[in-house]
C-alpha cells in the first residue's frame, strides 16, 4: 500500500471490490464467493428451495442412500436419515442456522467490541487499562472452552448460543480496534481535526472508525468461519442447537450412530461445514491481502 | 591463470529486466565494463540508477524473477552460465561482497565469533582445520578494538561501524580477487565512513584485490577509486579515470552530480540539487534518458540514444553534446 493510500482521509475510496481489485490482492476467489453467496441464498430462501420440510419424518423412506448410490432414489438426492428426513433439506436448514447464529454473533459481538475498542483506544488512561484487562481475561482461554463455560451458565438453544458466541468474540474486535485507533490517532488528519476543535466523539466516529473499518470487515468475514465451527462444535457436543432446530453439527452427532450403515449422514454435514468455513476464510484472506498487506490482523 | 595485465572482470552487453515481458522494467541496459586486478572502481548514480542491480548480477544474487542477458567474465569464467553450485563455490572465496546495511547484515542470534568461524570453515573446506585464533585475527586485520571480546559478543552489542568492520572482515577473510562494496558507508556516521573506506584501500594494497565500490557519495569515490563509472536510469553515461572525470566531467549528468556535491563557497556550504525527476524505468524516452533534465540537450538527444564516444585516455561518454565537442 502506498503512503498516499495510507494517509487517505475518511470516506474517500470508492467501491470496495474495485479498491480491492486495484490493491494487488490478486484475483478474487470466485468459487469461494459463489459458495458464500449460495449459503446466504439457502439461509434466506431456505423453505422455498428445500424439496422437503427438514424435520418431517417419512418412515417409508428411512436411510435411503444418495441418488447415485445403489438403492438411492432421485426423490432424495443426498439420501435420507434414520427418520426418513431428506438430507438436502436438512443441509439447507442447517445453513440457515449456521449463518443466522454466525451473522448475529458477528454483528452483535462486532458492535460491542468496536465500541469498547474505540473507547479504550481513544480515551486511553484508566478506561483503556480496565477494558483491555477484561479483553485479556476473555481471550485467556481457547474460545471453545470459554464458550462451554458460558453455555454452562446460560443454557442451550439458538438464542443462548448466539449470546455465548457474542461473549467469546467481542474481545477480538475490541483488541483490533483499540490498536487501530492508537495508530490512526497519531496521523495528521486526526491531529488536524482535533486542532479544528472537533469533539472526541465526532473525531472517533467520523475520522477514526471509517479508517479502521477495513480491518474490522476482514476480521468479521474471518470470524464467520470461526463462528460456524463454534456453533457446529457445540451442537455436536449436545450443548448447542437443540432439536427440532437443525444444525450441521447436530446432524453429525445424530448420524454418528449410523456411520457403519449410512455414511452419507456424517459425510454431507461435515462437507458442508468444511466448504462453508473454507469459503469464508478464502474470502477473508483475499480481503486481508488487499487491505492489510503487512499482516497486522 | 590471469596475467597481471589481463582484466579480472569483463562485463559485456549486460541487460537486466524485471516485470512482465510485454512491459519490462529495464534496471540495467547495455552495460559494459572492465576491471583490472587490484583496481578500485567507483560506481556512482542516484538511487534507482541500476548500480546495485548491476552488482547483484555479477554476484548472481538477483531474484529469480529477473531476466539477465549478456556476459559477465570473471578471471576467464563466464559467471552467468555457471550452475548455482559452482557459483556458490566462487562466492566469498574469489569474489565477495559487503551489503548496504551493517545493522541487519549479521545474524542476531549467533555471536560474532560463531559467524566468523563459519565463514573461515567454508574457506578451508577440505583443507586445514580452522585455527582457534582465526576469528580474532580477522577482526584485528580490520582494526576492530578488543577483538578477543568481540568474538564473544552478539551483533546487537556492537555499533554500526563495528559491525561493518566485522562484515568487511568476513567478506575479505579469503583475500578475494574482487570485492564489491554496495553503499558500504551510507548507514554509518560521517566520522566512521573514512575509516571503513581506508579498509578497502588496505585490502587492495595487501591482498591485491580489486574493489568495486558503489555509492552515491562522490567524495568517497574521489578519495578512493582509480576509475569511476557514472550511471543514470540503468545506463552507464560516463566512465574514466577518477581524477580526469572529476577535473573535466563530460556528461551533463556527471556535471550536475558534481554540482550537487556540497561545496564550500565563501564559508557557506552550497548544495545544488539536480532539477527534475529520475525517469520511470518502464517508460523511458527513445533518446537519452537524461534529456528531460539536461540543460544543454539537443534535438537529437530526445530522439536518438547517444553513442559511445572516447574523449581521452580510457575516458568514454554517452552524450551527443560531448561527442560534438560542445561542452557547454
Amino acid at each position: 500500500m502506498s503512503a498516499t493510500a495510507e494517509e487517505r482521509p475518511a470516506g474517500a475510496g470508492g467501491l470496495l471490490g474495485a479498491r480491492l481489485w486495484r490493491s494487488g490482492a490478486g484475483r478474487p476467489p470466485l468459487l469461494a464467493t459463489a459458495i458464500c453467496l449460495l449459503m446466504v441464498v439457502a439461509a434466506l430462501g431456505g423453505g422455498a428451495i428445500a424439496p422437503y420440510v427438514p424435520d418431517e419424518a417419512d418412515f417409508t423412506a428411512i436411510l435411503v442412500p444418495p441418488a447415485w448410490a445403489e438403492g438411492g432414489s432421485l426423490a432424495h438426492l443426498l439420501g435420507t436419515d434414520q427418520l426418513g428426513r431428506d438430507m438436502l433439506s436438512r443441509l439447507i436448514a442447517g445453513a440457515r442456522i449456521s449463518l443466522l447464529t454466525a451473522g448475529a454473533a458477528v454483528l452483535a459481538g462486532g458492535t460491542i467490541g468496536v465500541t469498547l475498542g474505540l473507547a479504550a483506544g481513544y480515551l486511553g488512561g484508566v478506561v483503556e487499562a480496565v477494558i483491555m484487562r477484561i479483553v485479556d481475561a476473555f481471550l485467556a482461554l481457547p474460545f471453545i472452552l470459554m464458550a462451554l463455560a458460558f453455555v454452562a451458565a446460560l443454557g442451550t438453544g439458538v438464542g443462548n448460543i448466539i449470546l455465548v458466541m457474542v461473549l467469546t468474540n467481542w474481545a477480538r474486535y475490541a483488541r483490533l480496534v483499540r490498536s487501530e485507533v492508537v495508530s490512526i490517532k497519531k496521523r495528521d488528519f486526526v491531529l488536524l481535526a482535533r486542532v479544528a476543535g472537533l469533539r472526541p466523539r465526532q473525531i472517533a466516529l467520523r475520522h477514526i472508525l471509517p479508517n479502521a473499518l477495513t480491518s474490522i470487515l476482514v476480521l468479521a468475514v474471518l470470524d464467520v468461519g470461526r463462528a460456524i465451527i463454534l456453533e457446529s462444535s457445540l451442537s455436536f457436543l449436545g450443548v448447542g442447537i437443540q432439536p427440532p432446530d437443525v444444525s450441521w453439527g447436530l446432524a453429525l452427532a445424530e448420524g454418528r450412530t449410523y456411520m457403519t450403515v449410512a455414511w452419507w449422514l456424517t459425510v454431507w454435514p461435515g462437507l458442508a461445514i468444511v466448504l462453508a468455513v473454507m469459503s469464508f476464510n478464502a474470502l477473508g484472506d483475499w480481503m486481508k491481502a488487499g487491505f492489510d498487506p503487512r499482516g497486522r490482523l | 591463470m590471469t596475467l597481471p595485465n589481463e582484466p579480472l572482470l569483463v562485463v559485456r552487453g549486460l541487460n537486466i529486466e524485471f516485470g512482465p515481458p510485454e512491459r519490462p522494467v529495464r534496471a540495467v541496459a547495455d552495460a559494459d565494463l572492465t576491471l583490472a586486478p587490484g583496481e578500485i572502481l567507483g560506481i556512482a548514480g542516484e538511487s534507482g540508477s541500476g548500480k546495485t542491480t548491476l552488482c547483484s548480477a555479477i554476484m548472481r544474487t538477483l531474484p529469480r524473477s529477473a531476466r539477465v542477458s549478456g556476459r559477465v567474465e570473471f578471471a576467464g569464467k563466464e559467471l552467468l552460465s555457471l550452475s548455482e553450485r559452482e557459483m556458490a563455490r566462487l562466492r566469498g572465496r574469489d569474489l565477495s561482497m559487503v551489503l548496504q546495511n551493517p545493522m541487519t547484515s549479521l545474524d542476531p542470534l549467533y555471536t560474532i565469533g560463531n559467524q566468523l568461524e563459519e565463514v573461515l570453515r567454508e574457506r578451508r573446506r577440505g583443507g586445514a582445520e580452522v585455527r582457534p585464533g582465526g576469528a580474532v585475527e580477522v577482526l584485528r586485520r580490520v582494526h576492530l578494538t578488543a577483538p578477543e571480546l568481540r568474538v564473544r559478543q552478539y551483533p546487537h552489542q556492537l555499533s554500526g561501524g563495528m559491525r561493518q568492520r566485522v562484515l568487511v572482515g568476513m567478506a575479505t577473510a579469503a583475500a578475494p580477487r574482487l570485492l564489491i562494496a554496495d553503499e558500504p558507508t551510507t548507514a554509518l556516521d560521517a566520522s566512521i565512513q573514512d575509516e571503513i573506506l581506508i579498509l578497502f584501500r588496505e585490502l587492495r594494497d595487501t591482498a591485491g584485490s580489486a574493489v568495486v565500490i558503489v555509492t552515491h557519495d562522490l567524495s568517497a569515490i574521489r578519495r578512493l577509486s582509480d576509475r569511476v563509472i557514472i550511471m543514470y536510469a540503468g545506463r552507464i553515461v560516463e566512465e574514466g579515470p577518477t581524477a580526469e572525470v572529476f577535473r573535466a566531467p563530460r556528461h551533463p549528468y556527471t556535471r550536475a552530480l558534481l554540482g550537487s556535491l556540497p561545496r564550500i563557497e565563501d564559508e557557506e556550504v552550497v548544495l545544488q540539487p539536480i532539477p527534475g525527476q529520475v525517469p520511470d524505468l518502464a517508460r523511458l524516452p527513445p533518446g537519452c534518458a537524461f534529456a528531460a533534465r539536461c540543460p544543454v540537450a539537443l534535438d537529437a538527444c530526445r530522439t536518438e540514444r547517444p553513442q559511445e564516444s572516447t574523449v581521452g585516455e580510457r575516458h568514454r561518454v554517452f552524450c551527443w553534446q560531448a561527442a560534438a565537442g560542445g561542452a557547454a
Binding site: A137, L141, P142, A153, A253, V277 | R91, M97
Partner: protein, 305 residues
C-alpha cells in the same frame, strides 16, 4: 530481564483474577445450587448450613471473597454427580488431556514445520500451492468431523486401529492425528510466513554472497530466526489444542478434562465445570508465561541486554 519477567507475571495474575470474577459471576447466574446439591429430604437447617458454608447467605462481594479463598485452596465444591471434590476429579482427568495435547502438538510440528519450510523455499511453485491448499483445508475441518472420518476409514472400513479407549499406544493414533492435523494447518502457515521473512533478511543475503552453503543458511540461520515467533505461537497453540481436545475427547471417548467438562455441563454439575475451566485457564496461562520466558532465553537481544 527481571523486569520483563515481573511485568508478565503481574499481567498473568491480573488476568487470572479477572477470570475468577468471570467464573464467579457465571456460577451465580446459574442460581442457588443448594437444591441441586442437597438431597430433597434435607432439612431447612441442612440447607442453611450449606448456604453458610459456601457463603451463599452473604452479600455478593463477600461471596466472591469466600469463593476466591476456596478456589485458592483448590476447593471448588463437591461434584453434584459424583459426590467427590470437583477439583480432585478434574485433576485426575488432566493427565490424559495433557498427553493427548502433547502428542498432537508433536504431530502438528512434525507436519507443519517441514511443509512450511518447503513452501517458503519454493515460492510460487506447485509445492507451495499444495501446501496452501493443505493449510486452508486443515483450518476449515472441524476435529469432530475429521475424527469421525478417520474412525470410519481406519476403525470401521479397515479395522486397523481402535476407535475409542485410552491406555495403549494405538489408542493415541487416531485422536492425536485428528487434533494434530487441525493444529498443523496454522503451524504450517506460521512457519511459512516466518521462514519467508527470515529468508528475505539482510543477513541471509550477506551469507549468500559470502558463499555459505544453502543448507547452513536455511537450517542454521533462517530457521533459527524464524523459530522465535514460532515457539511463542506454539505456546498459544497448546492452549488451542486443549480447547480442541474437548471435542476430540468426545469423539474418541478419551477420559480427559474436555469429556468431563461436557458431561458436567449436560448434568448441570457446576462445581466440576468451574474447576475444569479454572484449571485449564491456569494451565494455559502458565504455558504462555513459560513460552514468553523461553523466548527471552532464546533471543540474545532480550537475554543479553
Amino acid at each position: 530481564m527481571a523486569r520483563f519477567i515481573l511485568t508478565r507475571l503481574g499481567q498473568t495474575l491480573v488476568t487470572l483474577a479477572l477470570l475468577t470474577i468471570l467464573i464467579f459471576v457465571l456460577a451465580r447466574l446459574t442460581g442457588d445450587p443448594t437444591p441441586l446439591v442437597l438431597p430433597s429430604e434435607a432439612t431447612e437447617a441442612d440447607r442453611a448450613f450449606f448456604r453458610e458454608q459456601y457463603g451463599l447467605d452473604r452479600p455478593i462481594h463477600e461471596q466472591y471473597v469466600v469463593f476466591l479463598r476456596n478456589v485458592l485452596h483448590g476447593d471448588f465444591g463437591i461434584s453434584f454427580r459424583y459426590r467427590e471434590p470437583a477439583f480432585n476429579l478434574v485433576l485426575m482427568a488432566i493427565g490424559p488431556t495433557l498427553q493427548l495435547a502433547g502428542v498432537s502438538m508433536l504431530v502438528a510440528v512434525m507436519l507443519g514445520l517441514p511443509l512450511g519450510i518447503a513452501a517458503a523455499l519454493r515460492p510460487g511453485s506447485w509445492l507451495a500451492a499444495a501446501v496452501r491448499a493443505y493449510a486452508s483445508f486443515g483450518q476449515a475441518v472441524p476435529t469432530f468431523w475429521s475424527g469421525l472420518m478417520l474412525i470410519f476409514l481406519f476403525a470401521i472400513t479397515l479395522p486397523l486401529l481402535p476407535s475409542s479407549g485410552y491406555g495403549e499406544v494405538e489408542n493415541f493414533v487416531l485422536p492425536a492425528v485428528t487434533l494434530g492435523f487441525y493444529a498443523s494447518a496454522s503451524v504450517t502457515m506460521l512457519t511459512w510466513a516466518n521462514m519467508t521473512e527470515a529468508l528475505r533478511s539482510d543477513f541471509v543475503q550477506m551469507e549468500r554472497v559470502l558463499g555459505i552453503p544453502r543448507r547452513l543458511i536455511v537450517l542454521k540461520h533462517a530457521l533459527r530466526n524464524a523459530s522465535l515467533p514460532i515457539v511463542t505461537y506454539l505456546g498459544l497453540q497448546f492452549g488451542l489444542l486443549l480447547g480442541g481436545a474437548v471435542v476430540t475427547e468426545r469423539v474418541f471417548a478419551w477420559p480427559g478434562v474436555g469429556q468431563m467438562l461436557v458431561d458436567a455441563i449436560l448434568n448441570r454439575d457446576y462445581p466440576v465445570v468451574q474447576a475444569a475451566v479454572m484449571l485449564t485457564a491456569v494451565l494455559v496461562m502458565t504455558i504462555n508465561l513459560a513460552v514468553d520466558l523461553l523466548y527471552a532465553v532464546l533471543d540474545p537481544r532480550v537475554s543479553r541486554s
